[in-house]
């Protein structure tokens, strides 16, 4: 029989445009290939410089391009964390910029992953000697052949500046001469801790700083004569020391015994207290000084941190160089060109210009004779502080140590454990984290067995769907335009959903981690065994379930309640509706951060209102594990109810009015009408919405992360996704993280299927 559709005129216009469309696409592709050819040598440079530094870099590069017309430098700005993750991803894929600029603390990870190259060949002995110690970052050579220079180490970064060091910023309106010793610091602090109106809350504090982050505790540790690592290479943590205990005790005393530091002081609180003139002194890094010095409200000045009298040691902060590293994927020609550029950017003349225009500490020894360093009071103090500083280790162990220190450190400040116990816990955590970081899961055999299993499953699925597949090809031939039109969507879905899903599935069976970043291979079900064998996982899962249930119950409950209220005959309905939808319209991270500040122990609206209106004593919302979790839930309930309210409102409007009239005649009370009519008739709309809500809540990273500041206190507020995030990105455990997220996926999938089935949610109640 002849193809009947061939007779249809519709077939004519159905076919032709298909080819026409193809032709147009082809033409576009050809045209795009014909764009102007540029034979200049392109060097990409990714950096994370702030605005004024960026402008300066631009200036330098423009001049360089003038001198070297054959070079085209492309500068790309990314935020620090984004720079790290996208450089890793690009380099893993064998591409990425020739040069990456940033702080030195990520170098250890880059180097272990094998994505940055040794720069030794381009800098001879003479050139290297011109840098201050720490200006060039070396790391032990990663396997590879032994090199000529007996040192057997790789040059992984050439820096152009030092920075990130903490110093004491003081407000000259309150402090005449900065303290030389800790005793003086306490004394000045006491004098400046004032409760002027006698309401029990201080209007001014002697000293503030972000004491949630262990980075800010380092000066106290070095001042007490301690350090974080036992060996010179900074690979063996040394945290359980008397010096550490003394440092933690000192920090705790400043708050508890001397009362010169506010409780619950995070970065934002400290910063805003000092800026508003409500704090006499602040410990903060060089990145913040410019802001303080520019503020007219306060009369800020910089001074080195004081000396701890017992040890006679200055409180030395960490300093870290920032500089340029070379991508291992760069071709030899690119490397030569890139190194030439790096040499120019870190040259004496470039750094001198930077010193004068940006007021930053250079990395070359010669520049320390520059008179500006003694003339400018800020630079002078900065340099003094720098000289007492300690280079930040650039190995990946540093990251593990920060992670290990944070929970016990926060617990000490929250009064949950003693300084001695905290030090011991830090050491134990650090050893465990480093062993995880360096864990070298070997590829295992038998991958063919798994491959066979996967193939069999795939074939089985295809066989199961054989009917659909059999009709697919003829259908495609019959409807080419239709397939052409949905084609882009299918490709997009494949790229953004299907491929990542299977890639994640594959990773979950791999040993991809810091040690096997590029050479990852099949590791069997090791990751799943690790996840399911970890007690912490079940604790977090339980907390996640509580988190989800409590949230969804409140979301739906409050949503229905408000929807019913809004659905009734009330005045100003439109205004209420807008007001109630508002929490939803505000970006979640703003809401989360607002709630975080509202939960502040001393300055938060929640405690202030509770105290003034109801006389409730202040609650330590964010410093205590259960309270912090409740705070996260409150913030998320606030964020989530408007969605359910809107859904319920829609559902209510779909319930015929005569249902209620019939019920009234049947003598149903208001409550009975709600219970027997409203609720059951809302179920079909609310059940799918609640399911979605449960999934969103289960996976809601922002609120937990932002309100609790990354799981604080002491990593006790994590839910599964923030736990996954932390596990994966802090310790580079990609395979483990993939397995964890597959488990999360399975849990959610099972939940949805069961819940929707039970609720018969897809059923239509009306005829």
């Amino acid at each position: 029989m002849l193809d009947a559709t061939r007779e249809l005129p519709a077939n004519l216009y159905r076919r032709k445009p298909a080819w026409r469309l193809l032709a147009i696409i082809g033409l576009l592709i050809t045209l795009s290939g014909c764009s102007k050819q540029d034979d200049r040598h392109v060097i990409q440079l990714w950096h994370q410089m702030v605005v004024n530094e960026r402008l300066f870099l631009n200036e330098l590069v423009t001049e360089y391009e003038k001198q070297h017309p054959e070079i085209d430098v492309r500068l790309v700005f990314k935020d620090t964390e984004e720079l790290r993750s996208s450089f890793q991803a690009a380099a893993l894929a064998g591409v990425g910029p020739a040069i990456v600029y940033g702080p030195s603390d990520v170098l250890g990870a880059y180097h272990t992953m094998g994505i940055i190259a040794d720069m030794t060949p381009w800098l001879d002995e003479n050139a290297r000697a011109k840098f201050k110690p720490g200006g060039l970052t070396y790391l032990p050579a990663k396997d590879g052949p032994q090199r000529d220079d007996s040192q057997n180490r790789d040059l992984v970064q050439v820096s152009d500046r030092f920075g990130n060091h903490l110093a004491l910023v003081y407000n000259r309106k309150f402090v005449e001469t900065p303290p030389q010793t800790v005793e003086e610091l306490i004394e000045i602090g006491r004098r400046n801790t004032l409760d002027e109106d006698g309401n029990g809350r201080n209007e001014r504090y002697g000293l503030v700083w972000n004491y949630e982050e262990p980075y800010f505790a380092v000066p106290f540790i070095t001042g007490s004569g301690g350090w974080l690592f036992a060996n010179e290479e900074n690979t063996e943590p040394d945290l359980d020391t008397p010096q550490m205990v003394a440092a933690l005790q000192l920090i705790d005393d400043l708050q508890r015994v001397h009362g010169i530091v506010p409780r619950g002081c995070d970065y934002e609180t400290a910063d805003s207290l000092f800026k508003s003139g409500n704090a006499a002194m602040i410990i903060n890094g060089d990145w913040s000084w410019g802001d303080y010095l520019a503020l007219e409200r306060i009369d800020a000045a910089i001074a080195p941190l004081p000396i701890v009298t017992e040890t006679g040691q200055p409180m030395g902060p960490m300093i870290s160089p920032k500089g340029y590293s070379l991508n291992k994927n760069a071709t030899p020609a690119q490397r030569d060109a890139a190194m030439q550029l790096i040499t120019y950017l870190t040259s004496e003349s470039s750094q001198r210009r930077a010193l004068h225009s940006l007021r930053i500490l250079p990395s070359r020894t010669a520049l320390y004779d520059d008179p500006l360093l003694t003339q400018d009071p800020t630079l002078k103090a900065s340099r003094e502080q720098f000289e007492q500083g300690h280079l930040m280790p650039s190995g990946s162990e540093m990251r593990a140590v920060w992670d290990a220190m944070r929970p016990p450190y926060q617990a000490v400040l929250g009064g949950a454990i003693s300084a001695k116990d905290a030090a011991a816990a830090m050491q134990a955590n650090a050893e465990q984290a480093i062993s995880l970081l360096q864990r070298d899961d070997q590829e295992i055999g038998g991958s063919w067995l798994w491959a066979a299993l996967a193939s069999a499953t795939t074939l089985g699925l295809l066989f199961w769907q054989r009917r659909g597949l059999a009709t697919l090809l003829p259908d495609m031939r019959r409807q080419p335009l239709a397939y052409l039109l949905v084609g882009p969507a299918i490709v997009l879905i494949f790229l953004t959903v299907v491929f990542p899903f299977f890639y994640n599935l594959l990773l979950s069976f791999s040993n991809m981690s810091l040690t096997h970043f590029q050479d990852w291979g099949f590791a069997g079900s090791q990751n799943y065994i690790d996840v399911l064998g970890d007690g912490q996982f079940y604790a977090v899962l339980l907390k996640t379930i509580i988190w989800t249930i409590v949230n969804v119950v409140f979301h739906v409950g409050i949503g229905i309640l408000l929807a019913v209220a809004l659905n009734g005959p009330i005045r100003g309905k439109a205004i209420y509706r807008v007001l109630l939808i508002l929490p939803w319209a505000v970006p979640a991270y703003i809401t989360a951060l607002t709630w975080r500040s509202m939960f502040h122990l001393e300055y938060g609206a929640v405690n202030l209102l509770g105290n003034q209106l109801f006389g409730i004593p202040p609650v330590n919302w964010l410093g205590e594990a259960t309270n912090a979790f409740i705070a996260c839930i409150i913030a998320n309930v606030w964020l989530g109810f408007p969605f359910m309210m809107v859904i319920a409102l829609g559902g209510l409007q779909g319930i015929p009015q005569d249902m209620y009239e019939a019920a009234r005649i049947d003598r149903a009370s208001r409550w009975q009408q709600f219970r027997h009519i409203t609720l059951p008739l809302l179920k079909p709309v609310l059940a799918p919405a609640a399911t979605l809500g449960a999934i969103w809540t289960f996976n809601n990273l922002n609120v937990v992360w932002l309100v609790s500041n990354g799981g604080a206190p002491s990593n006790k507020t994590h839910i599964l996704v923030s736990y996954v995030y932390k596990e994966v990105f802090n310790l580079y455990r990609y395979g483990y993280g993939a397995a964890l997220s597959m488990i999360v996926f399975v849990i959610l999938l099972a939940f949805c299927l069961v819940f929707l089935h039970r609720a018969k949610a897809t059923e239509n109640v009306y005829g």
């Binding site: 019939a662 009234r664 005649i665 109640v765």
Partner: protein, 365 residues
């Protein structure tokens, strides 16, 4: 069983719309009263005020001598059948029937008995475990009826219960409702816009227009002696024919045409200004002695089997004539219709359009 009284009842909506004007009406015990009228005439509002679903602006409504103005619908001891059935979609038929009893804390045993009894009365036993969406329109209507009956209320209220059914089902359900009333003998108030439904069901019919009662009477009385031109035009199918003209002595004159009427009352004769002459299709005959109309041409003939209805135009208006099935007329036939001696009504040509009774009328009914 109970009486229902409306005393000077008014309904004014917040937007100022005066839906019901000074309504006074007594529904007798066990009576089947039909409220009928065009849409917007206030009939549904009246029923809903009685049900308690609509507040009363002024006046009072009493059920069995108890003023119910401030009494909740559930406490008025009434049951209502809604136009859209208003069955609870998430409950089975059984639960729908039982809901009102459950809310009244009726013992479980009794609920089961009464539900079963009603189901058997209405022939819906086999549907008890189904959900409303699994039922046909007629079945749903039956369940809605059942939900009202099972409560054994003092008054049944029906709000256009048959208007969502197809014509055949409507006739069938009409008969069922009639027999239901016959069996239960409960007071029933029934709202419809369909005059056929009103005529067939009602023991007494209240015709409303613009929120006012036009006439309240038994069906035949309404048909034979409509109180005004509105009632005359509303009741009857095809509607009454009207001619506008003047009355001189007993001669009706209109645009050169004159019809001699007998037994015209003095009231009509003394009326100044125009009058309307109304006559029903069956009051026109072909072979009789009555006063004749001018010769006309039939435009349409509707064959009904037992009779035919012919349509012609007279003085620019479409008129109808009922013809015996045997008469051999076709569209195009020219006829001379004659008016049966007592087959006419005279109405005043004013806003109210009151009817003038004939001289010897009472004797004829």
């Amino acid at each position: 069983m109970a009486t229902v009284s409306f005393r000077n009842v008014n309904k004014v909506y917040p937007d100022g719309f005066h839906a019901v004007h000074d309504l006074n009406l007594e529904v007798k015990e066990g009576e089947f009263l039909v409220l009928v009228g065009p849409s917007g005439c206030g009939k549904s509002t009246t029923l809903r005020m009685l049900a308690g679903l609509e507040e009363i602006s002024s006046g009072e409504i009493a059920i069995e001598d108890r003023v119910v103005n401030a009494i909740e619908p559930g406490d008025r001891d009434i049951a209502m059948v809604f136009q859209n059935y208003a069955l609870y979609p998430h409950m089975s038929v059984r639960e729908n029937l039982a809901f009102g009893l459950k809310m009244r804390r009726t013992p479980k045993q009794e609920i089961a008995e009464r539900t079963a009894e009603v189901a058997s009365t209405l022939g819906i036993e086999s549907l008890l475990d189904r959900r409303p969406r699994e039922l046909s329109g007629g079945q749903r209507q039956r369940v809605a009826l059942g939900r009202a009956i099972v409560r054994q209320p003092k008054v049944f209220l029906f709000d256009e219960p048959l208007s969502n059914l197809d014509a055949k089902l409507r006739v069938q359900m009409r008969a069922e409702i009639a027999s239901l009333h016959h069996r239960l003998k409960t007071t029933m108030v029934y709202v419809t816009h369909d005059q056929v439904e009103a005529m067939t069901l009602g023991e007494r019919i209240v015709i409303m227009n613009h929120g006012r009662i036009q006439q309240a009477a038994a069906p035949l009385e309404l048909y034979r002696r409509p109180a005004n031109r509105f009632v005359a035009g509303f009741i009857g199918s095809p509607p009454m024919n009207f001619l506008r003209g003047t009355l001189k002595d007993s001669m009706f004159q209109s645009e050169g045409m004159s019809i001699q009427l007998a037994n015209v009352s003095n009231e009509a004769l003394s009326h100044e200004g125009n009058v309307w002459l109304g006559f029903r299709a069956e009051d026109l005959v072909l072979n009789s002695d009555g006063p004749s109309l001018p010769e006309v041409e039939l435009e349409v003939v509707e064959q009904m089997g037992h009779e035919s209805i012919g349509y012609f135009t007279l003085l620019g208006e479409r008129h109808s004539i009922r013809l015996p099935a045997t008469s051999e007329v076709n569209p195009g036939s020219r006829i001379v219709p004659r008016l049966r001696p007592a087959g006419w009504h005279l109405f005043a040509d004013d806003e109210e359009g009151c009817r003038f009774a004939r001289e010897n009328e009472t004797a004829q009914v």
